[in-house]
Amino acid sequence: MFIIPKEKEVPLGCITPAPVTEQTMMITGNWREYRPVIDQEKCNLCMNCIVYCPDACWQLNEAEDEVVWNAKYCKGCLICVNECTTEALSKAYELDFEDGVVRLEKPF
């Protein structure tokens, strides 16, 4: 009866599916001015970066016994760098990297 353009669709009652491991409709990797860089040699797996990241962008790779960074969602707050106990983490300017390009049409 009504024509609703795809980009304006809202599910009935605004009830949306729950995400499973990440919310792909809200990629936040384009928020970063700086990114954390890890020196795996210095990392003693203190877990601080994992527990203190508000965006759950550090996870433990149990198999490799190392921490893994999620570039797709990291907003570059650098709490992890600040809380790192072994100086394994440092900050680096985002334009120094070719990777990590998101380039959305709109901010969200």
């Binding site: 001015e33 998101v102 901010p107």
Partner: protein
């Protein structure tokens, strides 16, 4: 949108550059008003409330005639795009909607080439202007008095917005430098930005 309205879009990062972004848009509009133009400057409401680091848009419009689209709240076809934090070019198609012959102004201490490599649709540009606004006047001013429709209490162009506005005059003829100087608080930074800007014509 009538073609006579020039649209200017400012991209900035939430909270840390919210005021600077708004100051750029307001500075442009206020200076253009001094030249007898019809103007408009406003926040993108959908990008608010702003969060630390979130990409957000501020808009200005300049026209020789009365702006009829006052309540169309997005700039669909910007002629000039200002990027207050250079890293935004990796995250956003900042030239979205631009027609061929536009100008990009970037706050960065890097060279135009370093920025352009992150802009796949750079053929739309006739010029890119780079200015190290942070180098000229330090960190951005964080202040909320002018947010959510409030009136700014710190002063327009007290910080990073001033050199960026100065640089803008080098790449566009939107407004005259002296008219910007009349509305911007940190005039020294404005002039420095104007002098130190690097323009690359494409």
């Amino acid at each position: 949108m009538a073609s006579k309205v020039k649209q200017i879009t400012v991209w900035a990062r939430g909270v840390v550059q919210d005021k600077e972004g708004r100051d750029i848009a307001n500075g442009l509009a206020n200076a253009a008003k001094k030249e007898g133009k019809f103007t408009q400057a406003f926040d993108n409401y959908v990008d608010l409330p702003d969060r630390v680091n979130v990409p957000l848009r501020k808009y200005a419009r300049i026209s020789d005639e009365e702006i009829e689209e006052r309540y169309e709240y997005e700039n669909e076809k910007p002629e000039v795009v200002i990027v207050a934090d250079a890293t935004l070019v990796k995250g956003i198609n900042v030239l979205r909607g631009m027609e061929k012959g536009g100008v990009l102004v970037v706050n960065t201490d890097r060279k135009p080439e370093d920025i352009l490599k992150f802009i796949p649709n750079r053929d739309l540009l006739k010029a890119i202007v780079c200015v190290d606004a942070k180098g000229i006047c330090g960190e951005a001013t964080v202040d909320f008095s002018g947010s959510e429709g409030g009136v700014d209490a710190v002063g327009l162009g007290a910080g990073m917005a001033a050199p960026i506005l100065g640089a803008l005059v080098r790449g566009t003829n939107l407004v005259k430098l002296e008219n910007l100087a009349a509305v911007v608080k940190n005039k020294e930074a404005l002039y420095k930005g104007h002098e130190q800007a690097v323009v690359k014509t494409l």
